[in-house]
């Protein structure tokens, strides 16, 4: 009988040492402990959006880029040579680059090819991102289609168990949308402070965190920039903050990452 490196369903006492996690226990979780000196180096951040414009000065290198499309009934995932058709993904990528300059940016394009079939493409793109094992997936978008909810929920749970942190935009519309409402993802709304490294934990979920989302200068198509407001831009701020924390603490699973973000949030003492 082969012996697994890690137990899957049970733990015998003599195996307990085998799952010791190599880390220094934090006496107090402070902002300094969480992300002091971090650049996001060694962490992969996927922008699940409209693509990323190659060579944009505010974005820099893009480690990989694929485009997801629906051809009849068939989903195709191919290398993306078109970049960004509408600018939204480039805007998100620029924010991550600014806050976590050492993180590797990956693009999965699920938007921009018109509005039809977007639910299937979104699911396929998220499935691809989870299979790739990216550390962080930025989702500045949501779907309102209930028929996708079950699969989306399963994908979010799979990501959670594979240590992929999905960071998703919340919205204040009178209609339910997903995946931001799932507890397995980190949901983000906006605060209006100009500090990219300020975040707040919401004591009244489902929106769990607030990050910078007002008057943000973001990368825009054609190498330019534009001043934007919206949860779409708060989300990559928190995604980048996740990348900073993970680059110092590789062992954190999404729920532990959430705990660290809670303990170091500005309204929870900022880790002081």
């Amino acid at each position: 009988m082969s012996v697994r490196a890690y137990p899957a369903w049970s733990l015998r006492r003599e195996r307990a040492q085998a799952i010791a996690i190599d880390r220094e226990p934090a006496e107090v979780v402070t902002r300094e402990w969480a992300l002091g000196g971090a650049t996001g180096d060694g962490v992969s951040v996927c922008i699940l959006d409209s693509g990323i414009e190659a060579g944009h000065p505010l974005v820099g290198e893009v480690a990989s880029a694929v485009a997801v499309s629906l051809e009849g009934e068939e989903i195709r995932v191919e290398e993306d040579r078109e970049g960004d058709a509408c600018g939204h993904g480039t805007a998100c990528a620029g924010i991550v680059r600014a806050v976590a300059p050492g993180a590797a940016l990956h693009s999965v394009r699920v938007l921009g090819a018109g509005s039809t079939g977007s639910g299937e493409v979104l699911l396929a793109g998220l499935r691809y991102a989870v299979e790739q094992g990216f550390d962080v997936v930025n989702m500045s978008l949501s779907t309102t289609r209930r028929r996708f909810v079950e699969v989306l929920h399963e994908l979010a749970d799979t990501a959670y168990f594979r240590r992929t942190a999905i960071v998703a935009s919340a919205h204040n519309m009178p209609v339910e949308s997903f995946p931001w409402r799932f507890s397995s993802v980190l949901s983000v709304g906006s605060h209006d402070l100009p500090d990219p490294l300020a975040w707040y934990a919401n004591p009244e979920p489902p929106v769990e965190f607030f990050a910078r989302g007002v008057d943000v200068d973001v990368a825009w198509l054609g190498g330019g920039s534009l001043r934007c407001t919206g949860n779409s831009f708060a989300t990559p701020h928190l995604a980048a903050i996740c990348a900073l924390v993970l680059s110092k603490h590789r062992e954190l699973a999404p729920f532990q990452l959430k705990s660290v973000l809670y303990q170091t949030a500005a309204n929870v003492g900022g880790g002081q």
């Binding site: 959006d49 409209s50 058709a85 509408c86 600018g87 939204h88 938007l111 921009g112 090819a113 018109g114 509005s115 039809t116 977007s118 500045s140 978008l141 949501s142 779907t143 309102t144 289609r145 209930r146 935009s169 919205h171 204040n172 519309m173 009178p174 209609v175 949308s177 906006s190 209006d192 007002v214 008057d215 825009w220 198509l221 054609g222 330019g224 920039s225 534009l226 001043r227 934007c228 407001t229 919206g230 949860n231 779409s232 831009f233």
Partner: protein, 212 residues
């Protein structure tokens, strides 16, 4: 005019009337939105799913009277962002980016300095986009304005949904060839008969179909 023709005309008139009433409701929403935000313009776009295009349905202020009916691809521009991401957003300081100015001019005929846009969501569908252009000097669009626009969006989405229903009903009455059109024609034919044989046949059919 035959009795059948009269019936169809009467029902069509009701549907047409409701389309006009819903269009007036949309117009009222953009006018109120423009007034509340003190904006230069406000507009509602409807998503034409078949053509995958956004269509101006109502405009208040700049472009009023010229833009209604104009179309552009649904995946482009700020309205396209908002539609596909289901996320409201605001943009400021647009004057400095020429590319944006060109995009905006192509889709709206007017180049704003700032704008807010919110998706119009009803049940599970994104029906269109509501935009508000250029607040007064020194009053940028912030979180409070975004929240307020979100409330307007709920109302606008209901109006847009009603407008679409009225149009679909009109298409059926105009003699579309789908199953619903056949039912509408059958109903009109039955109502036009002197005897009640057709109605008795329908009653029998209903009894069979609803039998448990």
């Amino acid at each position: 005019m035959t009795q059948d023709g009269e019936l169809r005309a009467a029902v069509a008139a009701g549907v047409l009337g409701s389309e006009q009433a819903h269009a007036a409701l949309l117009q009222s929403i953009v006018e109120v939105a423009r007034a509340i935000f003190g904006a230069q313009a406000a507009s509602i776009f409807l998503l034409d799913e078949a053509a995958d295009e956004l269509v101006f349905e109502a405009v208040a202020g700049e472009g009023e009277g010229e833009l209604v009916g104009r179309r552009f691809p649904s995946g482009t521009g700020v309205a396209g962002w908002v539609l596909v991401t289901r996320q409201p957003l605001a943009l400021d300081d647009l004057g400095k980016d020429r590319r944006f100015a060109r995009d905006a001019a192509e889709s709206t005929g007017y180049v704003p300095k700032a704008l807010m846009a919110v998706p119009l969501l009803h049940d599970e569908r994104a029906l269109g986009v509501l935009e508000v252009l250029d607040p007064p000097e020194g009053s940028p669009f912030g979180l409070e304005e975004m929240e307020l626009l979100g409330l307007f969006a709920g109302q606008a989405a209901i109006a847009l949904d009603l407008l679409q229903r009225a149009r679909r009903a009109k298409t059926v009455l105009d003699g579309g060839d789908d199953a619903l059109a056949a039912v509408a024609r059958l109903t009109a034919a039955l109502a036009g008969r002197e005897d009640d044989a057709g109605l008795r046949l329908l009653a029998a059919l209903e009894a069979v179909l609803t039998q448990k």
